[in-house]
Symmetry: C2
Subunit: 124 residues, 2 copies
């Protein structure tokens, strides 16, 4: 999760199924030979054009039913960018934008829960 | 990582390669269809006979070189048991015991780093 100084979160619109067209967090699968943190940075850059720095571990999400494609484990990190960066959609993303009202954005998967966890983290 | 009230950590001796005979944290692979937390509790119970409650996420370890068998991601959790429980070795463990001087125990993999991270966490 990339947050900006105004409390907005960087979301993409999914180009592919499942949840095609829905808002989602940027992310993707770890490649053999890269760390989870490197995969996180690579996917955010590929999908949104935003380069992120320090990552803070938020949680690990592994409910077997959370992804209709099969059992998938997501490791979620949060980072803050101070300056307003204009995202640019790429690879699996049809669009990339800063969203303030993410609770009502109809997010894919369990991403609304993940962002809520990160918000709690930020305020702790 | 299972800590007791006296600051000791519950370790096993590995029955199999790699690091056969060395001390290591209890743990193992997640099965398809179970959460990471459930896998953690199951492996600790199978290897040490200790049933653990609440888990606190410590970190995610994914250096491609951390396991000689291939690229392996470990999710590490910590828990505290207040009472002195006598462990009982099972499944992949040749022994299970409470260890105070884990820094000098010749731990397998990167487990000494993981325990150090958990210790920092406990004191924060």
């Amino acid at each position: 999760m990339v947050f900006d100084g105004a409390g907005r979160v960087l979301l993409i619109r999914r180009k592919n199924e499942p949840f095609k067209g829905a808002f989602a967090l940027p992310g993707g699968f770890v490649e053999i030979g890269e760390t989870v943190e490197a995969a996180c940075r690579r996917e955010v850059l590929e999908e949104t054009g935003v380069a992120v720095g320090e990552l803070r571990l938020v949680g690990v999400y592994s409910d077997p039913k959370r992804d209709p494609r099969g059992h998938t484990v997501s490791v979620a990190y949060a980072t803050l960018v101070q300056e307003a960066i204009s995202p640019r959609a790429g690879s699996d993303a049809a669009a990339a934008e800063w969203v303030r009202d993410w609770r009502n954005a109809g997010l894919a998967f369990d991403h609304v829960v993940i962002i809520a966890d990160a918000e709690r983290f930020r305020s702790s």
